[in-house]
């Protein structure tokens, strides 16, 4: 059975927020839209975003890591937001595992927000319905788009291609391969939600230098260190040395 998901590579994410606004621009005019913004030109602007990037620091100076952490609905295989929904608005699609909200059923009670351990849900304050990442379900099956464009908006936008998209139940897919080979992990597995989205950790490349590599036989100083010989006719001690 198919389980579509994002695999997000923290090793290359530079925190540029391309995924944040490309998501917003696609979805505000898509089937989940419009996405409401409150006080867009005033104090404390706030709006509905399906995807946000949090940046935090780990460790103490100078041993600090700065981590950019994009976060959206993880499309859990066992989503706690679904059973708590009193109207059945929150549901998981059988055909691809995408967790969605049926806006025509949602009453905005926010039970799902409380149930979601990841804080991935966003209430639309204007429509008073719960919204969240749809994995651009209105895009990825749109046959009027060229095949290459049938991907979530964030995946297409991401300049560092930190966002991989595919079926994690297909062991040969790009995402399964990445999880398997790059140490992909799920967030807070202890909750038993089995998030479909995974993250790839930072990886460090180091260079080990052995001391005997510093100098090589063809060191140019062997040439440049050879200074010119004095002219034959230049004075020398030999000219005046007594026996």
């Amino acid at each position: 059975m198919t389980q579509l998901a994002l695999v997000i590579d923290l090793n290359v994410c530079v925190g540029c927020h391309a995924c944040v606004t490309s998501c917003k621009e696609w979805n505000t005019s898509g089937s989940a839209g419009p996405l409401y913004d409150e006080n867009p030109y005033g104090a404390d602007p706030t709006g509905t975003f399906f995807n946000r990037v949090q940046t935090f620091e780990v460790g103490q100076f100078p041993h600090t890591e700065t981590v950019h952490f994009p976060k959206s609905c993880l499309h859990c295989e066992d989503p706690p937001c679904v059973p708590v929904c009193p109207t059945g608005a929150s549901y998981k699609r059988k055909q691809d595992g995408i967790v969605l909200v049926d806006y025509d059923k949602c009453i905005g009670c926010k039970y799902c927000t409380w149930a979601c351990p990841y804080g991935a849900r966003e209430i639309d304050e204007k429509q008073q319905v719960m919204k969240k990442c749809t994995l651009c379900v209105d895009r990825i099956y749109d046959m009027s788009l060229p095949e290459n464009d049938r991907k979530p908006s964030c995946v297409k936008a991401c300049p560092t291609s930190a966002r991989l998209f595919g079926d994690i139940h297909d062991s040969e897919s790009e995402v399964s391969l990445a999880i398997r080979e790059e140490g992909g992990y799920a967030l807070m597995p202890e909750w038993g939600t089995h998030p479909a989205n995974h993250y790839l950790p930072r990886r460090k490349t180091k260079l080990k230098i052995h001391e005997d590599e510093l100098e090589r036989a063809d060191n140019p100083l062997k040439v440049d260190g050879k200074l010119p010989k004095p002219g034959k006719g230049e004075p020398s001690m030999e000219d005046v040395s007594a026996w």
Partner: protein, 980 residues
């Protein structure tokens, strides 16, 4: 209204809301290609329109620059297009109102043009230099520069002087090319990449794309920066450094690399001036200059190959690159006439002798062991991981090579190095480090982009005499150029500056992008003279683009005793309401990028790739809003009305219908075949680079993703400074005038010429007495380290911290605070302080503090950080706004919690003993020294308001601007059932 259905709560099988169904099944859909302008990156975009409104904007997958990706800014173009901060009508300051009060009245374009034509016509007929045109990050400097030149004013520049001109100048005067548009790191083949002091948006998407591939392919990435954000976050190693000390680090790295013999000798010998002999006879007029043979010298701006080596085989001086000769790089020699000489490399070794890693540790805060290890990593990677590509090429001396060799160590640096008053010499040192490693225009190292490399320095020159400025006459020379010696300076006979910003004068001789940051102060003071009209395009000079903001704002409204404004007439062209438009006497509403034609021209800063020239266009995807008019059209119209020669026929009649017509038909000279666009030239579009005007050129760009990309043969893609094939191609296509080899200037004779003049030794012009010492000190032909000038003039005990800014990836300059989506990412800024530093000052996380320099103070909020070295505080630039500006509400976070650090940065250094004041800039290039300021921080008083300080009078909304909505639910096109 939303209806809720409670009746079917158990159904999870058939949702009522079909998530796949289009909300707009009957909509009219269109896709139009153009070029982004949400920053200076210039990605290809596809604008998807629905019922004529923007549905979404995504990256064009067929564009060479971004290959389909797009950034946060580019994805938010909708909110720029429909922003309530947009200006929509030409506006005139109400006659009875005070400048700066923001009281405007609508006028027609006809009236606007007649006001401008009359005023500028009078100036042009009397004293053209009284008109000054300065522009921001406009991407159309070839046109604005042409207009200024045709007008006849020397007073033109774009924003480079206060941006990163040191990076361009330092590198171009050393290797003949520079980072960003003109070259960059070849991360595709690099193994080790070192990024130094790079802001998050220089260069934007292409750098992100390349960095990600590089890391995934196992490359090692080291970031040297006082702050760890953005790109640095994913570095394999972060090396924190104190601001303004990069030069010390570069020199220590050079020291170590030479000491261990980790330099690429063959590269230095053949491709640089390392082996060339320098006259060291201190009594000689040619002291410090290369010894030249009697080889006849053709006039030109290139390096004639008439210098000498001391040949190892024959033990005598020979002409450089003589067949079979091998020069000494070290040693001292005497020419047959007794003249003592040394090779340039020997002088470099002498220079860095005392610049040890231990010395640099004290200055940079980086341990000597780390500095040595960095040098070893660079040197060993360059040497032991050498790449050899089977690409045959011929060098400038006719030697055939079977392959191209590369040492895979690359660098990128930007404003962190540039925006210091020692930046030019620092960047010279960086360029020399890259050269020692043998990485210039080679695989895995630095690679050029057309139109670079160019001769060192490039051939364009400003006039060198005030006689070039004459009434009703175009300027006799370029307003911006590349001085090669003191005789090229644009000065009066007494040595005083001809330009209002004092560029190309003895104060800032190599100010190749002018000093926009001093224009207002100089004009206000009347030093060197008063002007009449200042036209600003797209530059927020009343706020974040100026230093000393509070005082500069006063200058803009200051009056003479007779009641006239000290700067009599100010015209601002911009698409948005801003702090600067408030000071305008006339506002010209510009279009957005989606509403205009534009060119990214080879005559300006094109978007070339390593593999060949690329230029691009914008084509409007929607009609202008209100009465907005592209600035390009304004210039063409104004130029025509003023009868500037290029815009009119011999009879004085209109020559170009509009901007698109101008772009197609204008040639640099009649019949030259060189115009703004290089693609699809010739009558039928059959020619590239040069050719007759093609009436269908725009259509051909439109059909081809708005971009023209010429991929050069592989043999022309590397070693271009000395690649006979490439240089001759470049010459044939008139990209460069000469095809002579461009030897890297390890030793800069250009700088030495200025020093000799200052020492009274040369036959060239000599500086005024009060500037001789300054020139002699800073125009050192070899890089050296000095503490930044402002730091030298600061009480470091009282002001112990460096304060710097950078720009976030999701914002471009001050532009994006009016963008409803982007401002939700950065609505206000904090001052980031190392936690230990803050706690020592008794400051808690999130508390209100004062940051104070010798020039002023700003109240802001502190944020603890472990990603900043303890001696540095920093913030995002240009997030803070004046209340009411950009049509934000008076209580918007930008003006209440957000702050501008510019208030504590001066545009001038403290007065000299003789009372003279110099720009707070690099003394060589005039680059604004933003990052030299020293500050202290302390807690704000408990009784003080929790609001940023200083505050300014609330700015008004102008006629033609909408009241911003209190909520937004953007939906592009008409939703099913008419609901929006």
């Amino acid at each position: 209204m939303k209806t809720h259905n409670f009746g079917d709560s158990q159904s999870t099988i058939s949702p009522l809301h079909d998530p796949l169904a289009s909300p707009t099944p009957d909509a009219k859909q269109e896709v139009r290609n153009t070029t982004c302008y949400m920053c200076a990156c210039r990605c290809g975009i596809r604008v998807h329109l629905r019922d004529g409104e923007v549905r979404y904007i995504d990256g064009n997958p067929d564009h060479p620059l971004n290959g389909g990706v797009i950034c946060a800014k580019g994805s938010s173009g909708i909110m720029k297009q429909y922003s309530p901060a947009r200006l929509t009508k030409p506006l005139r300051r109400k006659p009875e109102s005070e400048r700066g009060s923001g009281e405007f009245e609508e006028i027609s374009w006809e009236e606007t043009f007649s006001i401008l034509a009359e005023r500028l016509g009078k100036i042009r007929a009397t004293d053209p230099k009284k008109f000054a045109l300065f522009t921001g990050r406009d991407q159309m400097q070839a046109l604005t520069g042409l207009f200024a030149r045709q007008f006849g004013t020397p007073n033109y520049a774009a924003h480079g002087g206060f941006c990163s001109v040191n990076m361009a100048a330092g590198m171009i005067y050393t290797i003949g090319g520079s980072f960003w548009e003109f070259g960059g790191p070849d991360l595709e083949r690099s193994k080790l990449f070192i990024m130094i002091g790079t802001a998050e948006d220089h260069h934007s998407n292409p750098l992100k794309v390349a960095l990600s591939k590089f890391k995934r392919e196992g490359g090692r990435f080291i970031s040297i920066n006082p702050v760890r954000t953005g790109y640095s976050a994913i570095a394999d190693e972060w090396v924190p450094i104190r601001p303004g000390t990069d030069g010390a680090l570069m020199l220590a790295l050079i020291h170590e690399i030479i000491a261990l013999g980790l330099y690429d000798r063959e590269f230095l010998v053949r491709y640089t001036n390392s082996g060339q002999l320098i006259n060291l006879d201190a009594e000689h007029d040619e002291f410090g200059m290369f010894v030249r043979t009697e080889v006849p010298e053709e006039e030109g701006c290139y390096d004639p190959q008439n210098k000498l080596w001391w040949d190892r085989n024959t033990d005598k001086a020979v002409i450089t690159h003589s067949e079979g000769a091998d020069p000494y790089l070290l040693g001292d020699f005497k020419l047959p006439d007794g003249t003592p000489v040394k090779p340039a490399f020997q002088l470099l070794q002498d220079r860095v002798k005392d610049y040890t890693p231990e010395w640099a540790e004290q200055i940079t805060g980086i341990s000597a062991d780390t500095i040595k290890r960095l040098a070893h990593e660079m040197g060993i990677t360059a040497r032991d991981q050498q790449i050899e590509l089977p690409i045959a090429w011929t060098d400038s001396w006719g030697k055939e090579h079977d392959s191209v060799v590369g040492n895979p160590v690359s660098f990128h640096a930007m404003r962190g190095l540039a925006a210091h008053s020692n930046g030019f010499q620092t960047i010279r040192a960086l360029s020399i480090l890259m050269t020692l490693l043998g990485t210039i225009d080679r695989p895995g190292g630095f690679r050029h982009k057309t139109p670079f490399p160019r001769p060192i320095p490039p051939c364009a020159r400003t006039p060198n005499t005030p006689l070039a400025v004459r009434p009703n006459t175009p300027l006799d020379g370029m307003p911006l150029g590349w001085p090669s010696d003191p005789d090229d300076l644009f000065v009066n006979p007494d040595g005083s500056p001809v330009r209002i910003d004092k560029a190309f004068s003895w104060e800032y001789p190599l100010s190749v992008h002018g000093l926009m940051h001093n224009v207002i102060t100089n004009a206000w003071r009347g030093d060197p003279y008063k002007i009449d009209t200042l036209l600003l395009f797209m530059a927020n000079m009343g706020w974040n683009s100026t230093m000393n903001t509070s005082e500069v704002r006063k200058m803009l409204t200051d009056k003479e005793e007779n009641g006239e404004y000290k700067i009599p007439f100010i015209v601002v062209c911009d698409a948005f309401h801003s702090e600067t438009t408030a000071f305008a006497d006339l506002i010209l509403p510009d279009t957005t990028y989606l509403e205009r034609h534009d060119v990214m021209s080879m005559l300006d800063r094109p978007i070339s790739e390593f593999d060949g020239p690329v230029d691009a266009v914008r084509i409007p995807v929607m009609p202008p809003t209100g009465e907005c008019k592209p600035f390009q059209e304004v210039l063409i119209e104004l130029g025509t009305r003023l009868k500037l020669p290029v815009f009119v026929t011999k009879e004085g009649k209109r020559k170009y219908r509009d901007y698109p017509d101008f772009i197609v038909n204008w040639e640099t000279e009649p019949g030259s075949g060189i115009g703004f666009l290089s693609g699809w030239r010739g009558k039928g579009g059959e020619k590239t680079m040069r050719g007759e005007p093609n009436p269908n050129q725009w259509e051909m760009y439109a059909k081809n993703n708005c971009v023209h990309h010429l991929k050069l043969p592989r043999s022309y893609q590397f070693m271009r400074n000395w690649n006979k094939g490439y240089l001759e191609w470049s010459q044939r296509n008139r990209i460069t005038r000469y095809a002579e080899p461009i030897l890297i200037h390890l030793y800069s004779e250009v700088l030495q010429k200025f020093r000799l003049a200052a020492q009274g030794k040369s036959i060239s012009r000599q500086p005024p007495a009060h500037l001789a010492k300054r020139i002699e000190t800073f125009f050192d032909p070899l890089p050296f380290y000095y503490e930044p000038l402002e730091t030298q003039a600061s009480d470091k005990h009282k002001y112990p911290l460096s304060a710097v800014t950078q720009r976030p990836m999701a914002m471009y300059h001050s532009w994006d605070s009016q963008n409803a989506w982007l401002r939700q990412i950065h609505a206000h800024n904090y001052l980031y302080v190392n936690s230990r530093t803050a706690m020592e000052a008794g400051i808690g996380d999130g508390e209100w503090i004062w940051v104070e320099s010798q020039w002023g103070k700003v109240r802001c909020m502190a944020r603890f950080s472990e990603s900043v070295e303890p001696g540095t505080v920093w913030t995002w630039n240009a997030i803070g706004k004046a209340a009411g500006a950009w049509n934000l509400s008076p209580d918007a976070n930008e003006s209440q919690q957000g702050f501008l650090l510019n208030h504590v940065i001066s545009e001038e250094l403290p007065p000299m003993p003789d009372g003279k004041r110099y720009s707070n800039s690099d003394p060589i290039t005039g680059q604004a020294a933003w990052y030299d300021v020293r500050v202290r921080i302390y807690k704000a008083g408990a009784d003080e308001p929790e609001q940023t300080s200083p505050q300014f009078e609330l700015l008004q909304r102008y006629p033609g601007m909408k009241k911003p909505p209190s909520w937004l639910a953007y939906f592009g096109g008409k939703k099913k059932g008419g609901r929006k």
